[in-house]
């Protein structure tokens, strides 16, 4: 094995994969595009300027106490004030989670600087409800027309009785009315009703709020090193799943590229020219290494973005040990799957013929997607423990457990590494034999029996 030749083969493999339009668009531009899109949505949401909504809110109020105050609450000045308060509240709430995502926060609630212009019409208590609803329908397309009809129950101001549910208010609106407008109207009416109930009951509302509000802060985790941190709960397991995907996707992509590149070298008949300069083992090693660097590049791009996001937005840290474990498990998983794919690629003449052979590789590569969810939920269940020792999915499953909230004992990690290393060695050994024979075989596509024959032959 000549390291210079291997590195030359690896470099060609890497360059011919990475320096293509497909890869640059697929692997490099996609994350950029995603970020641009997210920011764009945030910006659009923040600056959304809908056409001003103007119109009438009609109310049938048998209690007589709500309608007069509603006009006041829906006046432009009051609405502007309420919108501003709401935006501030949301921004405050989000700051805990995401530091500086106020752009997104702005998009979540009604915009602070755009609100509808509403007039309130109090209808007589004995109005024909159906006729008034009909007016909402008729004026659906009329500017300044009736937007909504509120019908209050006459008992709306008395407390909700125990047991049964009484409907205090019905709201009818024109089709497709902006949700923000509906909530503004509803919230205003509900708040007035609540206020009236407190007044009737003789309770000071502000005092009541002081009594019912209990602030605990979020749960803090006491870590082994004597520190403490905000509990991320299930989110940590989501991160663990992310780590697994971070090694699964590059494995998948690298293996795919190896398959197609090996087939291309074979079908273009360039392979024997290469074999005049390098041995089959050097060729395979170089190709597998080249694609590993492609995988690492993908990992670096997506992993880098993810870790950056974690650190900056969630103030979470990523243990260097976790990253180290990920690299080790990635290498083991990658070499296992990649060498198999290189072997398949070398043994067929075109991609179509490879389909029946790669099935058994694709299934184990798909399993972690599904199983991962269960394991992330309970990383130390019997099922999780066993599946993290089963080749060839052991590296993915163990990675998931290592990155979870409750990492497994060290001996289990060691055992998984040992099992994966043996699997990897066997896979590479068999693949090398198939690769050497397969490269020069043209004609009938092989099946598994032929592949096994080649392994024994070479």
């Amino acid at each position: 094995m000549n390291p210079t030749k291997i590195s030359r083969v690896a470099w060609r493999e890497f360059a011919s994969t990475v320096l293509t339009k497909g890869f640059i668009i697929g692997a490099l531009l996609t994350p950029v595009l995603i970020i641009v899109m997210i920011s764009l949505v945030a910006v659009l949401a923040a600056t959304k300027s809908e056409p001003d909504i103007r119109g009438e809110v009609a109310i049938i109020d048998p209690t007589g106490a709500v309608a007069p105050r509603l006009a006041e609450r829906l006046s432009p000045e009051a609405l502007a004030e309420a919108a501003r308060e709401r935006a501030e509240r949301i921004a405050e709430a989000l700051k805990d989670v995401s530091g500086g995502a106020s752009g997104i926060a702005g998009g979540l609630g009604p915009s602070a600087d755009s609100f509808p212009t509403l007039s309130v019409a109090e209808l007589p208590v004995d109005s024909d409800e159906e006729a008034e609803k009909q007016r909402v329908r008729e004026e659906a397309a009329v500017e300044d027309g009736r937007l909504a009809l509120l019908i209050l129950d006459e008992a709306a101001l008395s407390p909700q009785p125990d047991g049964e549910q009484r409907q205090d208010m019905q709201i009818f609106v024109r089709p497709n009315l902006d949700d923000d407008v509906v909530s503004i109207v509803r919230d205003a009416a509900v708040d007035i009703i609540r206020d009236e109930r407190y007044r009737i009951a003789g309770v000071d509302r502000d005092a009541s709020r002081g009594l019912s509000s209990v602030n605990t802060g979020s749960a803090r985790e006491l870590t082994e090193d004597g520190g403490e941190r905000d509990s991320l709960g299930g989110f940590q397991n989501f991160i663990a799943y992310g780590f697994m995907m971070l090694m699964l996707i590059p494995t998948f992509i690298g293996a795919q590229y190896l398959l197609t590149n090996a087939i291309e070298e074979k079908s273009s008949r360039v392979v024997e020219i290469l074999l005049s300069a390098v041995s089959p083992m050097e060729l395979m090693t170089g190709k597998v290494l080249g694609q590993m660097f492609v995988g690492l590049l993908i990992m670096l791009i997506y992993g880098g973005i993810s870790v950056y996001a974690l650190v900056t937005m969630l103030n979470d840290t990523v243990e260097p040990l976790t990253i180290g474990a990920m690299l080790v498990f990635f290498a083991l998983a990658y070499f296992t799957f990649a060498s198999f794919m290189a072997a398949v690629g070398s043994s067929v003449n075109e991609l179509r013929e490879a389909q029946s052979l790669i099935g058994p590789v694709m299934v184990p590569l798909m399993l972690p997607y599904g199983l991962g969810i269960f394991i992330a939920d309970d990383p130390n269940s019997t099922f999780a423990t066993i599946s993290s020792f089963v080749p060839p999915i052991a590296p993915f499953m163990m990675m998931l457990r290592v990155a979870s909230t409750e990492p497994p004992p060290l001996w289990q990690v060691g055992l998984a590494v040992a099992i994966s290393a043996v699997t990897c060695y066997v896979a590479v050994w068999m693949a090398a034999k198939v690769f050497r024979v397969g490269l020069l075989m043209y004609g009938k596509p092989p099946n598994f029996r032929t592949l096994i024959k080649w392994i024994r032959m070479a």
Partner: protein
């Protein structure tokens, strides 16, 4: 360890039940120009692949450039395989510099590529993608990739297949030039006439076995068919065979062309003079044995006469047959 360029003893290789090469001995001295000939499927490519350590023999031993395997001397060997191609999407210059790099060329790579492209009359293709070139042009690129590292031993498997006559001559000159420089050249072909034009030493393989290994001159002497060809003027028939002393039989080989087989002890010049004396002829000549004749004769001897001569002859002439991909089925 032999110091010959190639030394093979008792080489054998089988693919499942099929014997590809059997008990083959071969010595290619340094500096020689050897032709490895035989019909398709005779075992030429398998032998070459074993020499190149692409396949491994089941039996026998071999040494290449004094080393036990070509793996140890790959950078000193130039190899143009029969199954050849290029990276379709790579630029010609990048492909050649990749190949040169793989063969350990580190200095002046770009200059060497330019020089070679010039010599194969493709000066403007360096920036072109390989798949923009015709098949013949690609073949010249592949030839460059086999000589760019200035090898001591050049192995060419069916180098002429798929080339037009002009490029065939160009390639022949390039091969001869390498030979003159002292490079050991061994090339295989199933088209015997190409070997005849180029080689000084012929190795003939049939059904995995070596059936002939000699210089071209000695082969001609040994397989002298002892016959003369004559073409009488139009309207004049051949003179009866018995009129000439030493003639065994006369047969018509093509319209108006006859071949007279002579007795072993006949004086060929006397017969020719006698023919010219009695028949007005456009052409009277001593027939030189072609490699094709030699090959057919050997095959006939080996099989006890049970051979379809015409089919065999067609196989040895039609270059299109060589365009087929050879298939190795275990």
């Amino acid at each position: 360890m032999s110091d010959d360029a190639i030394f093979i003893q008792g080489l054998g290789k089988r693919f499942g039940a099929k014997i590809a090469v059997e008990d083959l001995d071969l010595v290619v001295p340094r500096g020689s120009l050897h032709g490895l000939i035989g019909p398709n499927g005779a075992g030429k490519t398998t032998t070459i692949r074993m020499v190149m350590s692409i396949l491994f023999p089941d039996a026998g031993r071999l040494s290449v450039l004094g080393k036990k395997s070509a793996v140890e001397s790959k950078d000193r060997i130039g190899y143009l395989p029969e199954e050849r191609g290029v990276y379709r999407k790579m630029k010609v210059g990048a492909f050649l510099s990749h190949m040169a790099g793989l063969k350990g060329v580190t200095s002046n790579v770009s200059k060497k590529i330019d020089d070679w492209l010039e010599r194969v009359e493709l000066p403007d293709v360096k920036k072109k993608r390989c798949d923009e070139l015709s098949k013949g042009m690609q073949q010249k690129i592949q030839f460059i990739s086999s000589v760019i590292h200035e090898p001591e031993l050049l192995i060419l498997d069916e180098p002429f297949s798929g080339l037009d006559p002009v490029n065939m001559r160009l390639l022949r000159d390039l091969i001869l030039e390498q030979h003159t420089k002292g490079v050991t050249v061994i090339f295989s072909t199933h088209v015997m006439i190409q070997a005849e034009q180029l080689c000084d030493h012929i190795v003939m393989i049939e059904s995995g076995q070596k059936v002939l290994d000699n210089t071209l001159q000695e082969i001609r002497d040994r397989y002298d068919p002892k016959s003369i060809v004559f073409e009488p003027d139009a309207g004049v028939g051949p003179s009866p065979a018995e009129r000439h002393a030493g003639v065994e039989s006369v047969r018509q080989v093509s319209p108006g062309v006859f071949e007279a087989a002579l007795h072993d002890d006949a004086d060929r010049h006397a017969v020719m003079a006698s023919v010219l004396e009695q028949t007005r002829a456009r052409r009277v000549e001593l027939r030189r044995p072609t490699l094709e004749d030699v090959f057919i004769e050997i095959v006939e001897q080996r099989s006890g006469g049970d051979v379809d001569r015409d089919e065999l002859r067609a196989q040895l002439q039609d270059p299109a047959v060589g365009a087929d991909t050879s298939e190795v089925t275990p």
